[in-house]
């Protein structure tokens, strides 16, 4: 283990480590703490410059209610869910099929197709923007939930295919061979063998995709524009324009917007990190 376990060091080092640890985390999360404190203050408090002191008035319920009552926050949250959940299902589903093909069949062009899926992941969004926006307008999907669902599904399929292919390639070949000998069709092999076995990967991948899509801002700006379909990221930034200096509301709204991925992360932490660090140990 590196560095040397703290238990094997001098008493002084041990104590200073235990002091430094909470201190660092405090400093690290300070900007966030500032937003949280601001979200429970009154506007008078903020204008008076009471930034770190005890709030003169606790406005926790008032501020958060106001965010939902006076704006379309609820609608934005719902839109984000309506976009994120289908994308998770579609892209992971399509990628499991494609990943299976790339992992367990030998055919010419396999490496090239795999490379295209990987490479496509890294392109800057701007090189896709004009044609994708045009296509969306032409197909009549502009400013609908489907504009975002279809684009995100397509784009995330690249990353998901890379992920699933690398997972499936580790499954034992004998399993598939013995099923073929028993006369199972390829589709049966997929549904009866592959799907149950990839379940651990599905969890990791789904939480990652949820976070990516929930946090998307660029496409939410480019493919939709009305409040009825706007996801939370674009919603928050539109509200900032309206609220101007009402920092207590901006803060409360931001916390509401950040909450779903944060909760998901803390609930599924192990899967999340397993997914994210795939490739950090080999390759």
């Amino acid at each position: 283990m590196f560095p040397t376990p703290i238990q094997q060091t001098s008493r002084l080092t041990q104590i200073s480590y235990k002091v430094a640890l909470p201190l660092t985390i405090l400093i690290w999360l300070l900007p966030l703490a500032a937003i949280m404190m601001t979200s429970v203050r009154s506007i008078a408090d903020i204008n008076a410059g009471n930034y770190w002191g005890w709030p003169e008035q606790w406005m926790l319920i008032e501020n958060y209610t106001e965010v939902f009552a006076r704006t379309n926050m609820g609608r934005y949250l719902l839109n984000s869910v309506l976009v994120t959940v289908p994308v998770m299902i579609f892209s992971v589903g399509l990628a499991t099929m494609a990943g299976f093909a790339l992992a367990k069949y030998k055919f010419t062009g396999r490496i090239a197709i795999f490379a295209v899926f990987i490479g496509g992941n890294f392109v800057p969004f701007q090189i896709l923007m004009i044609p994708v926006r045009d296509l969306t307008i032409q197909t009549g999907l502009y400013d609908t939930i489907w504009a975002l669902i279809i684009f995100h599904t397509a784009f995330q399929t690249g990353f998901c295919t890379l992920f699933m292919r690398n997972f499936i390639v580790g499954l034992p070949d004998e399993l598939f061979e013995s099923c073929r000998l028993e006369g199972a069709s390829e589709w049966q092999i997929f549904t009866k063998i592959v799907l149950p076995l990839v379940r651990p990967a599905l969890a990791a991948l789904s939480v990652l995709i949820f976070t990516f899509i929930w946090n998307d801002y660029f496409w939410a700006l480019v493919l939709v524009q009305s409040d009825e379909v706007r996801p939370i990221t674009a919603g928050i930034s539109a509200l900032r324009g309206q609220w101007l200096a009402s920092w207590q509301l901006i803060s409360a709204g931001s916390i509401v917007a950040a909450l779903p991925p944060v909760i998901l992360f803390f609930a599924m932490q192990r899967h999340f990190i397993a997914g994210l660090t795939l490739g950090a140990t080999k390759g």
Partner: protein
């Protein structure tokens, strides 16, 4: 005989059928648009009317456009300073790689800025920098400095935004390194300890070489993050003051959506794409080399 050859032909088709939906979607929404954008970059086009072919006209104009150079230069600054996330992430990971009570909770708290949307990170840091009552002013005030309106200053705003971007990015590289540190070979470390290596020499000669895969991924995601920077610029300054914080991604969006200059925007996107292509090619080459053996 007929039967078998039909079957084998069917068999050869199977992987393609499995890949078909994914390939089709990916081609229509990702691969083909790349070529379409490059094509559009040779036209003068407002997005609605007729396209007028102007050859390399847009690119020639880019070379003369100071806003392009500012944006490109800011992307270079992003690349350089965003890279700090790699050593800092390693430092934090080394700091946290201990087994003490509550360390798991500390690691998650360190990591979670990464799961927050960049739009929110932008809000958080705008408040942090706020010249009238932001936390930063209070901190520097303790040392007797005047308030610094970071985001309103042409010379400082980009650095302010990059610092905000480092916050989630360090969390990301840290988690990559923590995973890497978990997978170190204990034998090699013990052997090195026997040979008298410790501290810095151990870190340089034994640990960092073993962390190469983690470093590689950390560098790749950081480069891509730097070239993709858009959300923070859009939410924190909107490219201002006076276009001083614009990056290529933002400049492209601005030209296409607000100025209706699709051809010009496509040319900016193409430049950004070519920059990224260098890295994609490098990444693919590494990845496929590892794949072959």
């Amino acid at each position: 005989m007929q039967e078998t050859s039909g079957q084998s032909r069917w068999h050869a088709l199977t992987p393609w059928l499995f890949m078909l939906p994914a390939m089709l979607l990916f081609a229509v929404y990702v691969i083909i648009p790349i070529f379409q954008s490059i094509w559009i970059s040779f036209f003068d086009w407002d997005g609605i009317g007729d396209k007028v072919f102007i050859g390399f006209g847009n690119y020639a104009e880019l070379l003369e456009d100071p806003q392009f150079w500012t944006s490109l230069w800011n992307n270079v600054l992003w690349l350089i300073f965003y890279m700090l996330a790699v050593p800092i992430g390693l430092g934090v990971a080394l700091f946290l790689n201990q087994q003490v009570l509550g360390i798991r909770a500390v690691k998650s708290l360190f990591f979670f800025p990464f799961v927050i949307s960049q739009v929110i990170v932008g809000v958080v840091f705008s408040w942090f920098y706020d010249p009238s009552s932001g936390l930063l002013q209070d901190i520097i005030g303790v040392f007797g400095f005047e308030p610094l309106p970071i985001l309103a200053s042409e010379s400082m705003a980009t650095y302010g935004i990059i610092a905000a971007g480092l916050w989630p990015q360090i969390a990301y590289t840290m988690i990559l390194y923590l995973t890497g540190l978990n997978n170190l070979s204990p034998d090699q470390i013990e052997a090195a300890r026997m040979d008298g290596a410790h501290g810095w020499s151990m870190l340089w000669k034994v640990i960092i070489p073993q962390l190469r895969p983690a470093t590689f991924i950390a560098v790749v995601v950081t480069v891509i993050g730097a070239l993709r920077s858009f959300d923070l610029v859009a939410t924190m300054t909107g490219g201002g003051p006076y276009g001083s914080t614009s990056v290529l991604a933002f400049f492209m969006y601005e030209q296409s959506i607000f100025s209706y200059r699709m051809g010009y925007g496509a040319a900016i996107a193409t430049v950004l794409f070519l920059l990224m292509l260098l890295y994609i090619a490098f990444f693919l080459w590494r990845m496929l080399r590892a794949e072959r053996g």
